[in-house]
């Protein structure tokens, strides 16, 4: 039972190793979900403590202070201000980095003001010796009114001691360690008198932040205690100075650094990685290696998954008793699941590389060297991260824009990110490239198919940058522009952290996209297996009559019947209806069906074609690719998937916004339907026009 466990909240600045502490305490015993109504990740883990006590460990989003500037940070405040929340902590662990103790303690003093029992966790203690740092723990514990756990989450040191400390949570001090209200005695005295039952610091947070909580409404307090924006900010500044004064005084005695010991590896590496020439070369080489390896390494498992599911389908059709249910399983469900699982290798590799880049601290250096260039296009250096992670999936990428401080730069980043080639486009690209681009080598080492794929990626980035440039010129939004990015110390990525991250992200993607794909596959199968009217019902008789005149073999008759049925099924009629709109692009009604069904999620395209061709044909062993290859135009006899229609399809999928989840996340992050709708209309019409031009020129 969850409510009998004690609640432990992990709080800390970004880059202090908070997630490794979380992983150390909980192992793989964690649940990742979302906070209700918002897309902030909620991570809860479970931990067995000594004396048979169990704890729920809540990993809160990293924050520099309790003055929230993003919804991630707001989550922290809202939880800590609401004693009735079922996750309200019995004890808070403030995680700090021994090398950044001064800055990390700012948040600690704020948490102490909320009168929650708080343990100070000083992480990365294994570096103390090499950095010449020594701490006076008893003195610090006394001054900061807390218990201190010296740990190294990387080396698994001090974790048991920390667990023992958590068990004693009832005896840990909940007193504030300084009194910041002396910055304006009169104001704060009156505030406390007006609300004697409330914590003073809570009141102050409610006045300065955008949070509501239960019986204490903002308006009610703000009325008599309102101040101008500048006055409030001045007070916040004085508060921050006060806190730093206290911290500086405490650390003057409690912390000693022998700087002669510290040898700086960081500045040497910085000099290379941010170099005006080598910095960029290194960055592009890393990108190139990432993309090359994703395609090289994942093609084997992907082919394996593809053929396994084709075999499974056949086996199901052969060994299960004949009937509708078997057809649904072999033609609807199995190809549908295969269409989801085929994503796993590429997504896992992409998340692997992205989390290594972030864990190591390299990503901040990329932000640093790219900022000036990106600003020319109305973006920020911080837009690089969403644009790169957009190659995995636009959803986490759009969420990653939250740390872009400037609204205009952030909005543009959100709007252009869906142009980057996400992993959902990959199966579509992969199959069409395999069909229409010859598998030749040029210049001895470049594979023509690989080259095409790389061009499509560049096209995606290019389009993103170009539309950003246009949006920047067109949009009239002026906001305060500012930009602060922390440059964390370089760290060797921890295998455990990276692995957990990759597993969680892949799982979330598969279960999120998987449900849609599976549901759509089943619906499609029904729509393709049933049809309205006499034609569908009497397919056998109609075709048999025709066959008598042409003297066809039995298999040919069966194939014709199946094709005739598909044409007159519900989905066939839908495809036929839109055929006039898409035939100038070189597509037939079957591709039309695939486009309709992939409107909500583009990865459905391949699965749809798989389902359609399974319903239409009798031979189950061949893979989707073979079926598409042999598809010919009924009148002209030309291949349906030829060079011109192939290129046109590639361009259509490169530009069209066929992803309901992207629309939903854009709506959530911009708080308006205006932006996602604009995105949808612009991207779709652009896709249509380029595909049209390409086909008309190439055909």
């Amino acid at each position: 039972m969850i409510h009998q466990n004690i609640n432990v909240a992990l709080i800390g600045n970004p880059n202090v190793g908070k997630t490794s502490v979380f992983n150390q305490l909980t192992g793989l015993n964690q649940q990742v979900g979302n906070y209700p109504g918002i897309t902030v990740e909620k991570k809860i883990g479970f931990c067995k403590l000594p004396h048979n006590i169990k704890a729920n460990i809540l990993d809160l989003p990293g924050t520099y202070s309790l003055n929230a500037s993003s919804i991630d940070e707001n989550v922290v405040i809202e939880l800590l201000l609401n004693k009735n929340d079922k996750l309200y902590p019995d004890v808070a662990l403030v995680v700090t980095d021994v090398e950044n103790l001064k800055r990390n303690l700012l948040l600690f003093t704020q948490i102490k003001d909320l009168e929650i029992p708080t343990i100070l966790v000083i992480n990365m203690a294994d570096r103390m010796e090499s950095k010449g740092i020594s701490l006076d723990i008893p003195y610090l514990e006394e001054q900061l009114k807390t218990k201190i756990a010296l740990i190294s989450s990387r080396k698994s040191q001090g974790i048991e001691e920390l667990k023992n400390l958590i068990v004693t949570y009832k005896s840990i001090s909940a007193e504030p360690c300084l009194n910041a209200s002396i910055i304006d005695k009169e104001y704060f005295n009156n505030l406390q008198k007006a609300f004697p039952d409330q914590l003073l610091y809570k009141l102050w947070l409610v006045i300065t932040q955008d949070v509501n909580f239960l019986n204490l409404e903002r308006k009610e307090i703000q009325g008599p205690f309102t101040k101008s924006h500048t006055e409030l900010k001045r007070l916040q500044q004085q508060e921050t100075i006060k806190r730093y004064q206290f911290i500086n005084d405490v650390l003057k005695v409690g912390l000693a650094v022998d700087s002669s010991v510290a040898k700086d590896f960081r500045s040497k590496l910085d000099r290379v990685l941010t170099h005006k020439f080598w910095g960029y070369i290194i960055f592009f080489v890393i990108l190139f290696v990432i993309f090359q390896s994703i395609f090289d390494w994942s093609s084997v498992p992907m082919d394996f998954i593809d053929s396994t599911f084709a075999t499974l389908s056949t086996m199901a059709a052969e060994h299960l008793p004949e009937g509708i249910l078997t057809d649904l399983i072999s033609q609807g469900i199995i190809p549908g699941i295969g269409g989801i699982l085929i994503f796993i290798p590429q997504i896992a590799f992409l998340f692997l590389f992205i989390s290594i880049l972030e864990e190591s601290g390299y990503m901040s250096r990329v932000v640093f060297i790219m900022d000036k260039i990106m600003r020319r296009f109305g973006l920020s250096g911080k837009s690089v991260v969403p644009l790169i992670s957009g190659t995995a999936c636009a959803i986490p990428a759009i969420m990653a824009t939250r740390n872009i401080e400037n609204w205009k730069e952030r909005l543009i980043t959100i709007l252009v990110t869906p142009f980057t080639t996400c992993s959902a486009r990959l199966p579509v690209y992969a199959i069409i490239i395999a069909l229409v681009i010859p598998n030749h080598r040029v210049l001895g080492f470049l594979n023509l198919q690989g080259l095409t794929l790389m061009l499509l990626y560049l096209l995606g980035f290019g389009m993103a940058i170009f539309s950003a440039y246009v949006l920047n010129k067109v949009m009239k939004i002026s906001g305060k522009t500012f930009f602060v990015v922390e440059m964390p110390n370089y760290k060797l990525p921890l295998f455990k952290n990276v692995a957990i991250n990759v597993i969680e992200k892949t799982k979330a993607f598969i279960s999120g996209a998987g449900k849609i794909i599976l549901a759509i596959s089943i619906i499609l199968w029904f729509l393709a297996s049933y049809g309205p009217g006499e034609k569908f019902k009497n397919a056998e008789t109609i075709i048999s009559t025709q066959a008598n005149n042409h003297s066809l073999s039995k298999t040919e008759i069966n194939n014709r019947i199946a094709a005739f049925k598909l044409e007159n099924s519900y989905i066939g009629i839908m495809g036929k209806t839109i055929e006039p709109v898409i035939s100038p692009l070189g597509y037939d009604w079957k591709i039309g069906i695939a486009i309709i069904s992939s409107f909500a999620a583009r990865e459905v395209f391949v699965g749809t074609l798989a389902t359609i061709y399974s319903v239409g044909g009798t031979d189950n062993e061949t893979t989707i690719k073979n079926k598409m290859e042999s598809e010919i135009h009924p009148i002209t006899g030309a291949k349906i998937f030829n060079f011109a229609s192939g290129i046109s399809l590639l361009l259509f999928y490169a530009f069209a916004l066929q992803c309901a989840s992207t629309l939903a996340i854009t709506k959530k992050e911009t708080n308006s339907w205006k932006w996602p709708l604009g995105q949808l209309i612009f991207m779709s019409s652009f896709a249509y026009i380029t595909a049209l031009i390409a086909f008309q020129i190439l055909k």
């Binding site: 900010k233 640093f368 900022d371 000036k372 305060k480 930009f483 602060v484």
Partner: protein, 79 residues
Amino acid sequence: MRTTINSLKKSEKAIIKDFDIDIIPLKLLEMGCLPGNTVELLQIAPFGDPLYLDVNGSHLAIRVETAREIEVEIIKTEF
């Protein structure tokens, strides 16, 4: 003429004197950018912007337009 962070040379140290509170974001203050604290210019990005600083022991990067608003006094190094 007043000296601001953007006029520092590489690896030059200075003391933060004053800035316009309406322009400087709170987040920067929280990272230690406060009057009386030291600041050192560590790196300048290619194309001259942003600037990579050590402020009060914190490593962070800000743009020149922000750096221009923060007045400092250079610490004279003894020869």
